[in-house]
């Protein structure tokens, strides 16, 4: 277990370094000049030159990269061109909103996927199975922004049950935090839940057909025990992987849903950074997303070896 963790951590560091080089190169290759954007449409050469120099953009790219990565390893991701704030502060400021939404969404997704996917796998081609297939197809196909707007119009507009948008920190008002979380979490949860439902179904189906399940049944174990001990435990394994990937995706910000619900998360920050060609923020955000992906993959792998004793270092 420890050896696995050490090996995986070393791999992650190498991958992160690679990501930093690629990100830096890509970000600077994209057309568009952050200084021009910062000046707005009214352009003045002297102001432009002054800003450019202040941002260090007059230095050669290699120098800029080395300076950036050198500071990054000490935890200093630089200062946003757009706002003048430290990148780490900008990211930390948005972390609670993103964490709230990602965890709530994955909860919604699992609450949908596990019962629905299991039910439809237990009775293939039944009505439940058909309905689950159609619903998850819809969930995957419907654009998130449309779903979000419909939920707003219905549950915030007509019914008035939830706020139409905005985020309230948990520390400020837990009840309001929860209420403001419902609609965005349901929107993203429905999509992730649809993906996971299909996955759960095929995974449970596969486990049901396994020989040890047949044996367990032949032994005369009650169906419930077979399901809990022999089917779900095995079906859970692949689900953990997919859930980990979904969670990583949600943690790197769900741009569309964040925009629709005015949710101040990391996705919005990254989008603003792209639009403004705010290199430091963009680089910092991508590096963080890569880190989150690697971390969750690591956690999933370690969890795997716990869930399945056959896999171990």
């Amino acid at each position: 277990m420890t050896a696995l963790a050490v090996r995986r951590t070393l791999q992650a560091v190498v991958v992160l370094l690679g990501v930093s080089v690629v990100t830096f190169a890509l970000v600077h290759l994209v057309p568009g000049d952050p200084v021009r954007l910062a000046l707005g449409t009214r352009f003045d050469q002297a102001t432009y030159d002054a800003l450019r120099e202040r941002a260090g953009l007059d230095q050669p790219l290699v120098v800029q990269y080395l300076q950036w990565i050198g500071r990054a390893v000490t935890g200093d991701l630089g200062v946003s061109f757009r706002s003048g704030d430290p990148v780490t502060a900008l990211i930390l400021e948005r972390l609670p909103a993103t964490l709230s939404l990602a965890l709530a969404s994955i909860l919604v997704a699992l609450l949908i996927a596990v019962p629905l996917g299991t039910a439809s796998a237990l009775r293939p081609r039944s009505f439940v199975d058909g309905a689950a297939t159609v619903l998850s197809q819809i969930g995957i196909s419907v654009p998130e922004f449309w779903m979000g707007i419909m939920l707003i119009l219905l549950f915030a507009g007509t019914l008035g049950w939830f706020p139409s948008s905005g985020y309230v920190p948990f520390t400020e008002d837990p009840a309001l935090w929860l209420r403001s979380l419902v609609l965005p979490a349901v929107t993203t949860g429905l999509v992730s839940g649809s993906v996971l439902t299909r996955f759960t179904r095929s995974s449970v189906l596969e486990a049901l057909g396994a020989e040890h399940v047949r044996t367990a049944r032949a032994k005369g174990l009650p169906p419930r025990a077979v399901l809990d001990w022999h089917v779900l435990r095995n079906a859970l394994l692949p689900l953990v992987t997919v859930t980990g990937v979904q969670l990583a995706y949600l943690l790197s910000g769900v741009v569309v849903v964040e925009i629709v619900f005015a949710w101040p998360g990391l996705g919005q920050l990254a989008l603003q950074a792209v639009e403004a060609r705010d290199y430091p923020v963009l680089q910092g955000a991508v590096l963080l997303f890569a880190f989150v992906f690697l971390l969750l993959n690591l956690v999933v792998d370690l969890l795997y070896s716990r869930l399945d004793p056959r896999i171990s270092a």
């Binding site: 910062a38 102001t47 706002s83 003048g84 900008l90 619900f261 101040p264």
Partner: protein
């Protein structure tokens, strides 16, 4: 001079105000106490703006969203009036100009304090202006003719100019980018903190909202509302639902196509005013065949501006063949082009353009109306044998290409213009910093140069009228329309006014009783 009673400071944006709010960031319940029509018990109100301010340093930001907030926090020496945008006293109560127009002496208001309690003096004006000039911040070009700024005594500031500058007042007061900061301010903190003299002080700023509270020691009357919370709601459907649901009391996130239906809605009050913004098409005067004046004029004759305006803005814009809107004292009624395809064809033939022609038209998704308008323009130029290749770019790439001159034509707008110099100088002088279309006519240059230093208002207007005519005739810009400023708020809110310069000023707002 007397203080204006309504809409005092805040040149850059306008705002609204609204009914009962809980003072919480988000609550659909609308259960908050209703303010007693002003006075101290009124709750704060929530304004939904369409974008998050990039930063709050007034001298560094160029984002409209930032100025919507800063309008309520900072003051300038002078401000544009709500009705005709003429420059009125604010932190300066009066000013005198020397005979040669090179020395301006401003008398400052006494008894003004900053939000941190420090007194406002002439030294603060010198510090603020020197900061913009010496650090070459975003608006330093507005001080191009300012040779020196000196505090004569605590209540008098003298600006020495290198050339007469009749638009000096709109340069230093047109918007809050020229705000006065205390000289003791910690400059690095200004991106997220604010120390101004305005009616509201900045309480907190974050990724989700910005909160302002009433400044009791404001030099004018303190506002009747407790404060303003700005929320950033990009999606119009969410903003309008929040407004009708009492979650916010004011928004400027009102799409043009919704205006007609909202106008009949009792749950919403609509503010709609012709703005000083204008949208235009520019063709590349340095690139064949658009370097030919006749080709550009052919395009001008082929277009139906009414149809373009209708498609881009529904009924919320006014067609204009010049830049300055009707209603401004600088407006010049001049509309030489009528839609005339035959005339256009003969101009093209005369210019020696025989065969079919392709015109790349660069537009940007940042301003969706340019994308819509481009489609109409394309269909209108078809009969002329001009194929329009619509190139939709993100704004960063768009600006890049514009700066490099890498375009046949583009469409964009200029926002927040007040003085005619704002409308014409940078865009149409041969060496103008924003003359991307590379227009050059010595006659226009001469007229603009003379107008730029002309002290007599009537003569100055006449010079700008002539320059405008030349610009329109040469089709340096093909002007299309002036859009309306559109805002919506809860019924019952008073003391708020939608302004032509889109400055959002909540100082005099009162909630319904």
């Amino acid at each position: 001079m007397r203080r204006r009673t309504v809409l005092t400071s805040l040149a850059a944006s306008s705002i609204a105000v609204a009914g009962c709010s809980t003072g919480e960031g988000v609550d659909t319940g609308g259960a908050g106490e209703t303010g007693g029509g002003g006075g101290g018990d009124a709750a704060a109100f929530v304004a939904a703006i369409s974008a998050q301010p990039d930063q709050l340093d007034p001298h560094k930001t160029t984002a409209y969203a930032s100025f919507q907030v800063l309008e309520n926090v900072y003051d300038t020496l002078v401000v544009p009036s709500a009705d005709d945008l003429s420059m009125q006293p604010s932190l300066a109560t009066g000013w005198t100009t020397s005979d040669d127009q090179l020395t301006w002496t401003f008398t400052l208001r006494e008894g003004v304090v900053f939000h941190d309690g420090s007194p406002f003096t002439a030294e603060d004006v010198v510090f603020s202006y020197r900061r913009i000039i010496d650090q070459q911040l975003a608006n330093s070009a507005r001080f191009a003719s300012v040779a020196d700024v000196v505090a004569q005594d605590p209540t008098r500031v003298v600006l020495t100019l290198s050339a007469p500058t009749p638009n000096l007042l709109s340069n230093i007061g047109g918007f809050k980018g020229m705000a006065i900061l205390p000289r003791s301010v910690d400059e690095a903190s200004l991106t997220t903190k604010a120390v101004g003299t305005g009616p509201f002080r900045l309480e907190s700023s974050g990724a989700g909202e910005i909160a302002l509270t009433r400044f009791e020691d404001h030099w004018g009357q303190a506002p009747s509302i407790d404060g303003v919370t700005f929320q950033f709601i990009t999606e119009p459907a969410a903003a309008l639902t929040a407004l009708t649901g009492d979650q916010v009391q004011w928004t400027d996130n009102v799409p043009a196509q919704q205006v007609a239906s909202l106008a009949g809605d009792d749950a919403v009050e609509l503010g709609q005013v012709a703005s000083v913004d204008y949208w235009y098409l520019a063709m590349n005067c340095a690139k064949a065949p658009f370097d030919s004046r006749d080709v550009r004029r052919a395009v001008a004759f082929a277009l139906d501006r009414e149809a373009i305006t209708e498609a881009a803005r529904f009924d919320t814009a006014r067609v204009n063949q010049t830049a300055i809107p009707e209603g401004s004292e600088w407006h010049h009624d001049y509309a030489p082009f009528t839609t005339d395809v035959d005339q256009a064809k003969s101009l093209l033939a005369g210019a020696g353009v025989g065969g079919p022609l392709t015109m790349g038209l660069m537009v940007t998704s940042e301003y969706p109306e340019t994308v819509t308008a481009a489609q109409v323009i394309a269909s209108q130029l078809e009969p002329l044998g001009i194929t329009v290749d619509i190139q939709t770019e993100d704004f960063a790439t768009w600006l890049d290409r514009q700066g490099r001159g890498d375009f046949d034509a583009f469409m964009l707008g200029w926002l927040g213009n007040i003085d005619p110099a704002d409308f014409y100088n940078e865009q149409h002088r041969t060496d103008g910093p924003n003359n991307y279309q590379k227009y050059s006519n010595p006659v226009t240059d001469d007229l603009l140069d003379r107008a730029g230093v002309e002290g007599d208002r009537a003569t100055r207007k006449s010079l700008y009228d002539q320059a405008a005519q030349q610009i329109v005739d040469d089709v340096s810009y093909l002007y299309l329309y002036n859009p309306d400023a559109i805002q919506a708020w809860k019924p019952g809110i008073t003391g708020y006014e939608t302004r032509a310069d889109k400055a959002v000023d909540f100082e005099t707002v009162t909630l319904p009783s």
